[in-house]
Symmetry: C2
Subunit: 713 residues, 2 copies
């Protein structure tokens, strides 16, 4: 059988071929045939359930944000006055809907939600005025409208200056100067021996809320209130025509700040319920916190003319009108039942180029880029995104509040965070952000990835830290994240629903101006021209805000683990605690047999539990392929932390306020709000029981928060 035997070489070759075939087979078997139960394919959700934020997509988003588009948006948005429920507002509703329903750059869907809300308007036939009278003849009357300087002011739809919700009436009396109209301001006049009964108080903006100036005055017998803008407060002292708009950003002498004279927020007739047709409305006489006496704002030109006896003539009318929110939706791919909310109001007082259209222009640019990626099929967020263009904010955050009332339950259970960008650019010096502590980490992460308009080598984060900073016990010198009050549409999200909220804008260099706010605020001079020439020529600050806020939005919507650092709450709790735990505050507590020990203990517990939580999250993130339910569990803990601070019983007399850490307060003590108010009140009344009660409320809230972050057994 010799001759044709296989040589070793051949055998070797066959073995190699065989091995190759086996290997190819193994590879094919392993990689080419999908695995799954019952020999079928692996479930398709396996491919996406662990999807995380894509940094390249984030970069691509930011690259696509164009300043020129934002400028175009603003030009359209501010082309005419668009006060809530007016024709201009209705046209913007259509604009928003058409953008968000656009086949190329639209969202998944958009809708218009209508509420019948209680508003207040001046009577076009009978203009309000403040008149100087001598005997029975009028020797001077304030102007009916602002001076026409850029044609915008002559638009037929410019609303005359007025104090929304101030009652009509024509009180006449001696004029007294009551500073800012604070309670203490009126008290001081009385202490000086001045009889305020039947007087007209002239007050300047600032110090007290708008409505408070009249509410306080009425308590002292004042018959009418006039509110003016002091050039020292808003114009860095500039008061002449030459120094003001259209020659600079300062308010002209004829400028008048309009505003809502309303101490609460939401529709005044339907607290806690959406203002739908079927909804019960309280009586007008039951409304709290609006001026009980005629009140009228005027410009500083008129203010310096007023002397002796004046008459305030107010013809405002209250009326229920339909106001719309425009809502836009992008469905989440993996967790459609988790919502990231982004909103801004749509209504202005006049043209509202800065307030609010600078924010709407930014929102529309963000939705354009996201909508494009969505329609191209290159992106769909992990979680759902909801955009809100709120109506009737200027009258008291009405649209956003009605929205939270209508969808209270759903929003409370499913909302990850709310991002508010109202006025996006006050000035172009630096970022300014407010928010609750968990928002800090995501805002910082975004701000580090955006360049400043001024220099591509400086990040928005570094520039921000240069302007506003603080020393953090955990991080050293960092930008100072401000606290949220109730000044824009985030109010009901944080105070009523307990949703982690934030507000983002570009703002002033405080070394360059001390203006209380940008000078054209709520006047007929807040126009596109004003924005284009003085606030942000080139719209690069708008672009920086769009990139930062959009970056935050994408991180919240796409990150596998929510990018909110819960342990940052510990620092805030310590800070609020430390105010009560020293000096007179502590001494007074001790004298009254009140101990801060339980509070100290529970804050310590919160910090330790939060640190453990973060360690567990870090370990989970390091896993090759973490369980989707484990991820969901920690995300739910992060999302719901803020809810654990809610207590609907804590502040029974304050509509909506139920977040124990952030509720409004009257006291100057910079500690927990309920504790601060109870303490200040106890100093006068001796009611230390209320202090004890509010200590319990705070301890219980912090304990709940700690408990919410604990490991599951």
């Amino acid at each position: 059988m010799a001759g044709c035997g296989m040589s070793w070489l051949k055998i070797l070759g066959a073995v190699i071929v065989g091995a190759l075939l086996l290997t190819v087979g193994i590879l094919l078997g392993h990689f080419a045939i999908p695995k799954g139960g019952n020999g079928q394919g692996a479930p398709s959700w396996m491919q996406t359930v662990g999807r995380d934020l894509s940094e390249s997509l984030l970069q691509s988003f930011m690259d696509q944000v164009e300043s020129g588009k934002i400028r175009e948006n603003l030009k359209s948005l501010a082309s005419q006055p668009h006060m809530a429920t007016t024709k201009g507002d209705e046209e913007l509703v259509k604009l928003l809907l058409s953008r968000w329903q656009d086949p190329q750059i639209g969202l998944d869907s958009a809708s218009e939600d209508v509420y019948g809300v209680f508003l207040s308007f001046p009577d076009p036939q009978r203009p309000n005025s403040v008149a100087v009278v001598e005997n029975s003849s009028q020797i001077f009357s304030t102007r009916r409208s602002e001076k026409n300087v850029t044609a915008d002011q002559a638009h037929a739809d410019v609303v005359q200056p007025y104090a929304a919700y101030a009652p009509p009436g024509n009180p006449r009396g001696r004029l007294v100067y009551a500073n800012q109209g604070k309670h203490s301001d009126y008290q001081e006049l009385v202490n000086m021996g001045i009889d305020l009964n039947g007087t007209i108080a002239i007050t300047r903006y600032g110090g007290a809320g708008r409505a408070a100036k009249a509410v306080n005055g009425a308590e002292f017998g004042v018959a009418g209130v006039v509110v003016y803008t002091d050039p020292a407060d808003i114009n860095d002292g500039r008061a002449s025509e030459e120094e003001t708009y259209p020659n600079s950003w300062y308010m002209p002498p004829s400028g008048v700040e309009r505003g809502s004279y309303n101490g609460y927020f939401g529709d005044l007739l339907t607290p806690y319920y959406p203002a739908k047709e079927f909804t019960y409305r309280i009586k007008e006489s039951e409304i709290q916190g609006i001026p009980p006496i005629p009140t009228q704002p005027i410009g500083f030109e008129d203010a310096q003319t007023l002397i002796c006896d004046v008459q305030v003539n107010v013809h405002n009318q209250r009326v229920i009108k339909n106001s719309s929110n425009v809502m836009g939706f992008i469905r989440g791919s993996e967790e459609p039942d988790r919502y990231v909310l982004y909103g801004n109001h749509r209504d202005s007082w006049v043209h509202g180029a800065i307030d609010p259209s600078s924010g709407t222009a930014v929102m529309l640019e963000i939705t354009r880029v996201l909508g494009k990626m969505l329609k191209e099929g290159t992106w769909r967020p992990r979680r759902s995104i909801i955009f809100g263009s709120w109506g009737a904010e200027e009258f008291g955050l009405i649209g956003s509040t009605e929205y939270t009332e209508e969808f209270y339950s759903k929003l409370r259970e499913r909302s990850v965070a709310y991002i508010n960008v109202d006025i996006s650019v006050f000035a172009n010096a630096t970022l300014r952000a407010q928010g609750t502590p968990p928002a800090q980490s995501v805002i910082f992460a975004a701000a580090k990835q955006v360049q400043t308009p001024a220099s591509s080598s400086v990040s928005v984060y570094d520039n921000w830290r240069n302007h506003f900073n603080r020393i953090s016990p955990s991080y050293g010198v960092i930008p100072n994240l401000g606290s949220l009050g109730a000044g824009s549409d985030y109010a009901s999200f944080i105070h009523y629903l307990g949703i982690t909220s934030m507000d983002i804008a570009y703002t002033y260099d405080r070394n360059k101006t001390s203006a209380r706010i940008y000078p054209a605020y709520h006047t007929a001079f807040d126009t596109f021209d004003y924005a284009d020439r003085f606030i942000d020529p080139g719209f690069t600050s708008h672009q920086a805000v769009a990139r930062t806020a959009g970056n935050v939005l994408l991180r919240l919507a796409d990150s596998l683990v929510l990018p909110l650092n819960v342990s940052d709450y510990g620092e805030k709790l310590e800070e609020l605690y430390s105010v009560a735990a020293q000096g007179d505050f502590l001494a007074n507590l001790t004298v009254n047999n009140l101990s801060l020990d339980p509070l100290k203990t529970v804050i310590g517990r919160f910090k330790s539990v939060a640190a453990d939580f973060n360690q567990r999250v870090t370990k989970l993130k390091e896993e090759e392929s973490p369980s989707p339910l484990q991820i969901r569990m920690v995300n739910d803990q992060i999302m719901l932390l803020e809810r654990a601070f809610l207590n609907p019983q804590a502040f029974p007399n304050k509509y909506y306020y139920s977040h124990v850490i952030w509720a409004s307060k009257s006291s100057d003590e910079a500690t927990f709000p309920g504790l601060a108010d109870a303490y200040t009140s106890a100093l006068e009344t001796g009611d230390w029981d209320q202090v004890r009660k509010h200590l319990t409320i705070v301890v219980q809230a912090v304990e709940s928060a700690a408990s919410a972050l604990e490991a599951m057994a």
Copy 2:
């Protein structure tokens, strides 16, 4: 090159070998090498994330439930009096802890939670009494204790009969019979010309709550209240010694029903906050709903002796004492952050064999079997299970309420359902279950799998349907699931937290007895002997309850999709609506310009949305391997449906009640409670605005519920 060419045969052989090698490779590659990212193993959670209820395990659980073990449990539990916070109670705390921490049959862990709660006890040195007095001499006094018939009554720790929270005092006055002490009962006496001032009212149990008898009486000037048990109400008329215990289940003439005279629930000094050391306590004078005048319960033997002038001598003392909950935990394997809660109170008035130890005996048998499976490694639930042995229930559901206050936020976010089994066997005729509508489906499913004690061929479900049934528009004749009031520890779970709750027991054949409740209730005759001889000889009804409740528990803990049918709420909403939408109710609404149309519309919307939801769930369940996040999403919708009905603003004057569908009401109208009360009140006062308001509240609640079940975009 001829001669050594390979033959075709050889080539064929090589091809075959090659193909085999390739195939082996493919098979090895596909099956032998685990798949996963980066070529690593498939994540281990893939094996378990879709795990569903095991029917065979369920059957095994039920098979292991032994009536004999329950009997042993009850013998231990009821061996001595164990009123809240007494030595007997403390010993049961240890018993519970040792069972739940047992290495063979224990749970994952157990703990003792202590609260300092406000209780009321008689003074052992100065027994309370009701005495007949003539001039200044006492000619009769009620007995100090029940007659000793089985030695149990002579136990040193038997508490003398008293009305917990009734104030001390010795009022003396003419005795008047005031029926059940309802407001209308006293009013009738006044209408008959009887001056109630300074009288002692004798009232029988039933009709009005215990506290209400005294609260109402005090309004009419009554100085003291005596409460007795009428044999007609509790003993089917039997009143002699021969006819009563120890010769039958009926209450002996000396028997006295103790009880808490407390109109609310939870610790009275710390509403809304856990009664911890740091917690603020309101003043005793601020407590609402307890008797303002001395009150004392007596037996019917003594009741028939009372004539003319009597003196009520009450020496009760109020005190803050430590009361414990014992908590047991089993960690869920897949969803540890979802809780199924199961509880019963531990404290009794005396030996409490039936109330509550029959429930505790059942709970301990359930935990024994589950603990065994757990320790053997044959089972771990998908979701976490929490068992609660509540303290101080008899004084006003205190332990369970404090628990919900302390862990409000966590429980609200994570609880799937609460199962309460208090008195597990009132009598052995039929199952009796109460719950909110979503509980119906899971209770039915369980009841169908358990045999009745009487016959192995009849299911608990069929027997139940024979005893209590109704015609359902959706299902035809089905067992009637009762509504939850506030009679046991489910109260704060459903009313305050909005957690789907249920209460399960075995009970009477109403053709055989009309007893208001089992006759030894709250007396010294509620003993092991009583249970063993009269209530459930053989303990087979206890066993049926343990199997049914345990079956419900396992279904809730293990089912992939929660076995709660949300669409069953639609039927209840329709039923409540229909009461208002007809007859006088409707006529009065119409006259006052109030329309039910929005309510009708929104209930229709709820039903349609719920039906769609169920269809989506059915489709999802049919998928081979549904996405764990999709499953979690629908489970969260099911879990949180009940929460959508909560409104903390709806009933500002009723502690804890915030569930719009189930709040307490005073009106007899069987419609939505707020609407019913507002309507009844408007008939008197003409305040139809409140009716309008409560219509809004109901519409908004149902709308929220519908919205919570909607598809995610």
